[in-house]
């Protein structure tokens, strides 16, 4: 019984970090109505930025947020502004701009390969930092300290994004655009600017996720791919565009990944995750916490 509790807590901690990683994806989808295939790569770039910031400055990983988050916001903002916006404009009369999806796939490949070129295929982990390898031990009970920090970061970031969207004018403008682009434009909202902003915020949350991940995970050029698939599943599970759904979806995946292997081979645990994903698509296509929407 104690084992299960230990596994469940680990699952919730790890799952919240998955949810945080998926937050940007769901936000960008909610506003732009585009599946951003480059999301994993943005997470990967964030991990490199976080890794180098922490390694070169010797700061506590979470102090590095001050540097990583603004960098990633600017990166996302201009990636949308320079690379993706022109395609949007070219396809502005199309309801579902498929070409944009293809462009994000291109961005994914370019980012992954650029990183490979610049940093090589090496696997990197943070050495000697205050969080690395720290465990909270209560008798037989062991919890990873960097994951606890990650859990805190995930909950706070999700809350912050939610409040930002609910309470601020800019947040309202983003929600208005996501509900109806045409109507929002008529009200004087510059939709493209909102897109830039949403993309910037989405990428910045990937920056937060990266900071939570680097103290205990590897950094390498294709690390984004591992999280990519997980993020898609989480976002669909939680409901496309739902902010809180991302966190909850992440925690569900984390719990399955952590508890199921104790009863079967870890390979089967993965199969259960995908099985659940399909089941949700069949039964509740809008996701567990999503609203039915005209997407």
């Amino acid at each position: 019984m104690l084992y299960i509790l230990e596994d469940a807590i680990n699952g919730i901690l790890m799952g919240s970090i998955y949810g945080l990683a998926a937050l940007g994806l769901t936000l960008i989808f909610g506003v732009l109505k585009v599946i951003n295939f480059a999301h994993g790569s943005l997470l990967m770039v964030s991990m490199y930025v976080a890794y180098w910031t922490i390694t070169l400055s010797g700061l506590h990983p979470y102090v590095a947020l001050v540097i990583v988050v603004p960098i990633m916001f600017v990166f996302g903002y201009f990636l949308q502004d320079i690379v993706i916006k022109p395609i949007f404009k070219a396809e502005k009369n199309v309801r579902e701009p498929i070409t944009v999806i293809i462009v994000t796939t291109g961005v994914w490949y370019i980012l992954d390969n650029l990183t490979l070129l610049i940093f090589g295929p090496q696997y990197r982990t943070l050495q000697d930092n205050p969080l690395r390898g720290k465990m909270l031990e209560i008798g037989e009970f062991m919890l990873s300290v960097p994951k606890l920090w990650g859990f805190g970061a995930a909950v706070l970031t999700t809350l912050a994004v939610y409040l930002f969207l609910q309470k601020t004018d800019t947040g309202r403008a983003i929600r208005a655009t996501s509900l109806d682009r045409e109507a929002a434009s008529l009200m004087g909202i510059n939709a493209y600017k909102i897109y830039n902003l949403a993309f910037g915020i989405g990428t910045a949350t990937a920056g937060v996720a990266a900071v939570t991940l680097v103290p205990f995970n590897n950094v390498f050029p294709t690390v984004g791919v591992l999280f990519d698939i997980k993020c898609f599943i989480i976002v669909v599970l939680g409901g496309l565009g739902s902010i809180g759904g991302a966190l909850l979806g992440g925690i569900i995946i984390g719990l399955i990944e952590s508890i199921a292997p104790q009863f079967m081979a870890a390979t089967w645990a993965e199969a259960i995750v995908y099985g659940l994903f399909l089941l949700v698509l069949f039964v509740k296509p809008a996701g567990l916490f999503g609203v039915k929407n005209d997407w």
């Binding site: 790890m14 090496q122 696997y123 465990m135 591992l226 952590s258 292997p261 870890a266």
Partner: protein, 411 residues
Amino acid sequence: MKILEKIAVPVVAFSLLIGTALLAQAENVKIGNIEPMSGPSASLGQQGKAAREMAVEEINAAGGIKSLGGMKLELIYADSESKPEKGVAEAERLINTEKVHILSGCWNSAVTYPTTAVAERYGIPFVVPVSVADKITEQGFKTVFRIAAKDSWWTRDQFAFLKDMETEFNSPIKKVAFVYENGDWGTGFATQWKELAKKAGYEVVLDEPYPSTSTDLSPVVQKIKRARPDVLMLVSNAADAILLTNTIAEYNVKLKAIIGSGGGHADPSFLKATGKNATQIFDIVEWETDVNKPGAKEANEKYKAKFGQNFSGEAVDAYLAMYVIKDALERSASLEPAKIIEALRATDLSSGPGMIVGYDKVAFDQTGQNKHAALVIVQVNDVGKGLERITVWPKTARRAGYTPVFPMDVK
């Protein structure tokens, strides 16, 4: 211009004629090498080429094949691009057009397998330095000779090593755990492990395939911890090897030994990314630069100076292959394929410049497999120069002055 042409054409033609006549006179032993010179395995093909060149240069400089009047070895290369059909076509061309006496290659098992069949059809000896698929020497062919240990011997040697450790340190092993990536490679190893564990009388307390793409391996590590094995055996790719090693250290799992199977544990970035968490882990490899064999260090220095990198297991096998061929030619004293094959079959090589491998002898069994081939087991440890891989097994190849740490005593 006209005049120039009138002079030039006959002059060129004449010199070409003399040139070919001269070449024809000084016949060499032609060794056809099919290697992946381009494509995904190109770097391995290049290593094989470099090692062969170094060996042949040495052999020729030392007077070539004495029993054939100082005849020189000549290397001819063909690119397989790692494609089986390309390997087969190149073997045909090397035999029929280039008239090679011996074939060698092809690194990729998938290429070597069908290509050896071509050599068998023509009765041309085929020396395989390093394709490891078991089936290559299990086709009943008479012309195939493999120097490296085959695939199934990796697991055989891991268990032989464990038995030797039990005896040497008088520390019995009872329970083993198998944790491996769930692809072909990992599950293949695990199938053999289970057989071997049964024979060795070990109890298997955990048999866990996991997806290599896992982003969190703490659930698997928890399982290992709760199963309380003496020895943990792993097959991992790079990212998961690092993640497992670090997580095992974090959860403070107590084990007598952790044994990797190359792959991720041998990845150049593994030691850097795990740091001291990798201390005292064992890993199995084809070869390590510190093997305690006469000439190994010097040969590696020379190779490094020439080609800018350390000998790899593949390169060492290719290097040795040239010396095995030389040894056979000395005894066959003939270029007739049947005679060379006969000489290869009678090979009993235990010394000389090529013998820098971890095992002590090259001699082929009925199938053409070098029956003395074995892998090398290393232990990661810090003996004053930072973490490094130190050869510990076979005992004859163990680094001088190093005693393996068994059971592990790191926190």
